[in-house]
Symmetry: C2
Subunit: 339 residues, 2 copies
DNA sequence: CTGTTAGCGCATTCAC
DNA sequence: GTGAATGCGCTAACAG
């Protein structure tokens, strides 16, 4: 391997000079710079990143912590999309992206510990949130630079996080349904311990209440995310004395299952039941019917979270701990107006 | 930061002894091991991974190169799934996973160059293949340990790659369609410069030929992957003098678009047209109709490719350059038998 | 069994 | 402007 010393010898100058040329130090004459650079090219020199990181006491790499690899929610295109946003911005800032996971929560914790304590990464992005997450406590206790995508269950004012205003989003989409003449609306949510689910449902209820529509417990159904593909949810709906004329579904992915199950039971969307959901993943547009959904700008969630971690690891100030990405409704064909 | 020296001082022994304790060297007395470990715990010592990597001349991290982040194919759940397989196995072998990409091909090349020449990773997994890919030439020229997921366009016998037997898969699924009584079958493929597309189509043709069914050019349609969601493809079909009674689609994702477009035109799957495709992504099961598709075991593709790179960077022998993951057909509801 | 020495490849202080 | 010396934190000879 060709090192800084080799090219020092080749050019007849000292290693420190070479190092300065690499850093493009202004106190080096143009002449020697040229000479040194020529030698670097000829000998095929390339700086050893590990050595550099060691002295710099920084790796310029950010770890992204995914849900446990067993978690079925990983199937959600949401993750590829945030990852794309994160990767794109990190790269533009010359940072590397380390993808970390683990089969179990314990393994994941060990991995985070290894990376943080071993100073292998400068910052961390958490792509999920769990109640009483030991990783969270650990990171806080270490005062390690990290940000979370989504809303933390605890310490909300304390943890830097990038999120949508999901309460508002839930309210907005529900109001839209109401404005289209729907009166009997049911909410179908994913895992109940996810803040997104809770927030969106909260917005849903607010909208109903403000519109003077009744909110019965019956009107909220939770379903195992992905597992049944919303099958159970639909079965519950079918058993209702009066069926809803519209449903708000907390995730596009669940919508797919809901629609197909509905169809199997001879119910058409939006013919018999209107449906609106959240995320606006790629599929929402190509499936039939195309989904009216809240675009939460997943890519931007990724970009902003990486902007935030980079700020944190470079000791820059953040204006706020809670960074909100605006949402908007994409109107497509899963909702129809009733007279 | 607490280093090896600190705990050396604290225990009154030398740094090397501490280092040996970390490595659990057998020539250290149990007594001092205990003592040293106690000190490590008390002072909160953790080995600095960068320093360790520097002397080890290895980082135990593998870079996964994704398609350009602009590439729409990234939307394909295929990637999350291979990534999951790769991550899971790498982690089990104590390797880290660096996710690398770039906005353009040039940027991606620069990034790979930086990582390889900078010795920041021990090996590379390529998640795509492009004709005349400079990255490929570079890696080969550097004799850097890398494997590719999918079949390389060139140097097929020369590049370690993990793939399905897509020709066979194409043949199998087509034969199944034929066995169900279908006679006029059309192939709908994604990007024509992808070897998967080519191979699957090849298998398709073979099956037709062997069954004595005619193969006209007309029977093969290529569509922009994801872009139109198979819309164009369907429009071409609708213009045919005699419509096919079945289609083989080269990717589940395209199927979704094809089915929904077909429905918009009043054609039902499998009622009017049977459909079968490849990959068996999560959606295939929950959409309506559920897809009869070739399960290519995406997760395993990931696992095997990481097994292979690890072997390569640890100088182990590989039995073969071409590692084949077996496929199987998953029979669901998008195909019906005709009399 | 343990300590001493050296060095991984680079950046940075201090001299000149 | 440039060089010499020092150290980042760790491991690996070589001694003893």
């Amino acid at each position: 391997m060709v090192t800084i010393k080799d090219i020092a010898k080749a050019t007849g100058c000292s290693p420190s000079t070479v190092s300065r040329v690499i850093a493009d130090n202004s106190r080096i004459s143009e002449k020697t710079k040229q000479k040194v650079r020529a030698a670097m090219r000829e000998l095929g020199y390339h700086p050893n990143l590990t050595a550099r990181n060691l002295v710099a006491r920084s790796t310029k790499t950010i770890a992204v912590i995914m849900p446990s690899s067993a978690d079925t929610s990983l199937q959600n295109p949401f993750f590829s999309e945030v990852l794309r946003g994160i990767g794109s911005h990190l790269h533009s800032r010359q940072f590397s992206l380390l993808l970390a996971s683990g089969a179990t929560e314990t393994e994941k914790f060990k991995e985070v510990e290894r990376l943080v304590l071993g100073k292998y990464v400068d910052g961390i992005i958490l792509l999920y949130s769990r109640l009483n997450d030991p990783i969270l406590s650990f990171l806080k206790e270490q005062e390690f630079p990290f940000v979370m995508v989504g809303k933390p269950l605890q310490y909300t004012d304390d943890i830097v996080h990038v999120d949508n205003d999901n309460i508002m989003a839930g309210k907005d989409i529900t109001e839209y349904l109401i404005s289209q003449g729907h009166k009997r609306i049911t909410f179908i949510g994913g895992a109940t311990d996810l803040v997104v689910t809770i927030d969106r449902e909260k917005g849903f209820e607010t909208a109903l209440t403000e519109a003077g529509l009744p909110v019965t417990e019956d009107e909220v159904i939770y379903t195992e995310f992905l597992k049944s593909g919303g099958r159970e949810a639909v079965e519950k709906i079918l058993k209702m004395k009066t069926k809803p004329d519209a449903v708000v579904v907390s995730d596009d992915l669940i919508s797919i299952g809901v629609i197909s199950t509905l169809e199997e039971h001879g119910l058409s969307v939006p013919g018999d039941i209107s449906l609106a959901s959240f995320n606006n993943i790629y599929f929402s547009e190509i499936i039939h019917p195309s989904l009216t959904t809240v675009d939460i700008r997943i890519y931007e969630l990724g970009v902003e979270s990486s902007k935030a971690v980079i700020k944190l690891c470079t000791d820059q100030k953040l204006d706020t701990k809670r960074i909100i990405i605006p949402h908007s409704i994409v109107y497509r064909n899963s909702v129809r107006a009733v007279e």
